[in-house]
Symmetry: none
Subunit: 125 residues, 2 copies
Amino acid sequence: MQHPTHAVPEELIVGPLQIVPGEHLARADGRALMLSVRELRLLTELARRADHIVSREELFELVWGMRMRPRDRSVDVYVRKLRVKLDRALPGWRFIHTHFGFGYRLSAERHKGTTTRSQVDHTRA
Amino acid sequence: MQHPTHAVPEELIVGPLQIVPGEHLARADGRALMLSVRELRLLTELARRADHIVSREELFELVWGMRMRPRDRSVDVYVRKLRVKLDRALPGWRFIHTHFGFGYRLSAERHKGTTTRSQVDHTRA
DNA sequence: ACAGCCCGTTCACAGGCTGATCACCGGTCG
DNA sequence: CGACCGGTGATCAGCCTGTGAACGGGCTGT
């Protein structure tokens, strides 16, 4: 089922991230990200609630479309997959923040010290 | 009694601090703070009584939900944890003021000096 | 039809965070 | 000056998350 040609496409912007759910596409600084269906959908739902904490239960229902079973760790696993890909695409940025006991929050934040290679960052806001 | 759709969420503002209990979230100048459950709850109760002195006993009952045992120092410990995080997030501001023998009071007040490191400050409240 | 690859799911273990208490020190008041 | 009150740093067990890997199914190209 396609959208009508000229429908206004939803476009989510979070820092250097751009997400276009209607096109099943996400970009980092303009470069397309290679995300699986689940990954993109999780990122999308987080982006739609950027800067707000979203609980695992809510995320699960939004992305998987059903109630989360008690000890299901799927959300955690996909959050990690996303983090890895986002970090590889945009080192020096952090997007998915854990709120212990509550859930996750998507916000673009710079940070010092990169994962893979040592990246000099003298940003002293 | 719930409102149907978008009930107005409680939002507490204290100077540069914004607290949204319903979202388990507090922001400093718009930036999300990373607070634990207890910390956020303590900050919330203090904020709901901003500019008023709240006794330890009352704070304990509000946050812990039970009577405070005679020598319990929990409130003091959490006040400190909050002070540290608030100072790191907003150097130059003081929020939690001690009222010797009475309790604590939350009020946004500027002060000079402090950088990232918490500096000993002999200024009287 | 078959092999290979990608993806989604589930495990089990490791590590980090939180909340509760102590013990000790320094500050304040009478 | 002595007693009391609040500030601070550290410890500890338990729960919550992070993480690497294994498993099985479906899709694709040959």
